[in-house]
Symmetry: C2
Subunit: 341 residues, 2 copies
DNA sequence: CGGTTGCATGAAACCGGTTACAGCGAGATG
DNA sequence: CATCTCGCTGTAACCGGTTTCATGCAACCG
């Protein structure tokens, strides 16, 4: 395996010069530079990143914190794949690699508490991106407060060099309610996400705001808390159907719950959209596939990854933590909310 | 940032001894060992992995080769998320991290050919796992032949330390056909994957084998090649429906195609399973969600990740390349194949 | 009691880069 | 002509670990 000294010897120059050819090409004489590059290609020289990291304390690696513990709810984040692709593409375009960090559950023995912080320090990671796992253990807080550039998805973070990326949840919810109103619906209920989650709370807020703006009444029985999962949506819908007053439309704060709701409506012998119109949130793959097609508020999944990459790289380059990035949401109209009525 | 020399000084021992405490605890005197460990905890000493990698040439990192180039079809492998979770969990349980490698498309300039091989050498990666991207460019071949432990998913590889993991595609296809036969179907067609892909070819083979075993006729018009995607399944199903002889059951070699087929059947005014029974392959999330529920041959997605991790780690530890691992498939019966008939 | 054995440790080289600093020759300047 | 400047390059220390080899020391043995 060719080393820098070997290459230097072959070219009759010092290792320092070779190093400069790769890191500071402009300071070295054009002729020597060309010769070094040519010889490097010939002998297949590749700089050793470990040595480079050791010397510079820059690893050009960003850690991904993503809790895949099966006992916790977060591991199957619905967009994970798309976010990941966006993230990886944007990062590698900027010269950074993505290292998937072991989760707290994995490290055996001793206090697993600061597993992330330790991984970051051990590997000289330049920054960290964390995907909201639904649970927010203290070690994540310590991570964001430890000073490494840190971007969180869907969850506000504090820390000297920390920021977050999220969707315009409230705005999306307002879009959904307005759309249902335009379609002639007036008794609009909602199935929310868990109140303690940020997206859950914000989407509920947007729903309520838009109801007020439209002059529609707020009925307490029309707000049911779900859990973002299929079964929760199913159960919540059943509760809505059992109540005295039946809504003619429901804004469901997550597509997976919406599919559950769809099923509950079918089981009750009712039809979508004739009896009840439905609008979901997220635009996961299934939304387009399940009959009659789920109208939904789409999140910009690839945008999450890109925005996170941008933010973390800018902080790595010394910039201050940028303000939180709120990605716009868009309404995708499908069968579950189309006329009649 | 505490270094090994600092810790050594504090304990009144040499750096060598400290190093031994962490790597070879048994050779060092119990009393000094305890003292070193205690002091290490106090000052928060963490060994620097870059330095360690530089010295030992072991990085405890495994590269993941996964082409996310959007111009290529492979980037949205349906199980990616589940495979990844299995892989990451199994790897970190064995002390390895997972590094997502930049794809050929990302590296700018010069010959991007050997981007992977170079990344492996630069970062001293101990091994590599590659997810079949549908395209098999020569650089992957060079990678597997370069001698690093290498595990491929769904695609046979050659190389001194290379092996692969795949599902029992033929067996799964036989299960599907047998099931349809048991349900009373006799005119069983198939929509295949692309013939040049391994799973595509194997599933077709299984279909044909089982047809023969059951004494059912092979009708050429009953075999339509699809592309593993929704639109391909839709188009293929339409061709089947337009033909003179209509099948009463179809084995569709991929769930996504099956959903497309389902839709085509609906558009033709026919019903599943009354007019045509359907069995898919994969068991993706949608299969359970789309009415009437898609009977399908399930692959062991988490098993892929675990098996890949096991194989790559065993080779890293010096073992010979293990034989290819064929994961069993199981039939999941849902509405699309239930009686009547 | 001299010699062997074995355990625990230290000294120093090494892994493969980066970089502060110094030096050198050529051309410009007073 | 002496001096200054500037562009280019080399020397050597350093990053933070690991590992070979040598050694001090105590116990053990004949």
């Amino acid at each position: 395996m060719a080393t820098i000294r070997e290459l230097a010897r072959l070219c009759g120059v010092s290792p320092a010069t070779v190093s400069r050819v790769f890191n500071n090409p402009e300071v070295v004489n054009a002729k020597t530079r060309e010769q070094v590059l040519r010889t490097a290609r010939q002998i297949g020289y590749l700089p050793n990143e470990s040595a480079r990291t050791l010397a510079t304390k820059k690893s050009f690696m960003v850690g991904l914190v993503w809790d895949t513990d099966h006992r916790r709810p977060g591991w199957r984040h619905p967009f994970f794949q798309e976010i990941l692709i966006g993230l990886k593409t944007a990062l590698s375009g900027r010269g950074y690699h993505l290292l998937m960090l072991a989760t707290s559950g994995d490290t055996s023995g001793e206090r697993t508490e600061d597993a992330y912080v330790r991984a970051v320090r051990r590997h000289n990671l330049d920054g960290v991106v964390m995907i909201d796992s639904g649970t927010w253990d203290p070690s994540l807080r310590r991570l964001s407060e430890s000073g490494v550039p840190c971007v969180s998805l869907d969850r506000p973070v504090q820390g000297p060099r920390a920021t977050y990326v999220t969707s315009d949840n409230a705005g999306g919810a307002r879009l959904a309610v307005r759309h249902l109103h335009e379609r002639g619906r007036r008794a609009i209920a909602t199935i929310t996400g868990p109140a303690h989650t940020r997206p859950g709370a914000e989407r509920l807020q947007g729903y309520q705001d838009e109801l007020s703006r439209l002059g529609l009444p707020h009925r307490p029985g029309f707000v049911i808390e779900g859990d973002f999962y299929l079964s929760g949506g199913h159960a919540a819908m059943r509760r809505l159907l059992e109540a005295d007053e039946r809504p003619d439309a429901v804004f469901v704060a997550g597509d997976e719950m919406a599919v559950g709701a769809l099923r509950a409506i079918g089981e009750a012998g009712l039809k979508v959209p004739e009896d009840i119109a439905l609008v979901g949130f997220d635009d996961i793959e299934v939304a387009a596939l399940v009959p009659p097609g789920l109208t939904t508020v789409a999140q910009d999944k690839a945008g999450f990854g890109t925005a996170a990459a941008e933010a973390v790289v800018s902080m790595i380059n010394g910039a201050d933590a940028p303000p939180p990035r709120i990605l716009p949401t868009t309404l995708v109209v499908r069968g579950s909310s189309t006329p009649p009525l």
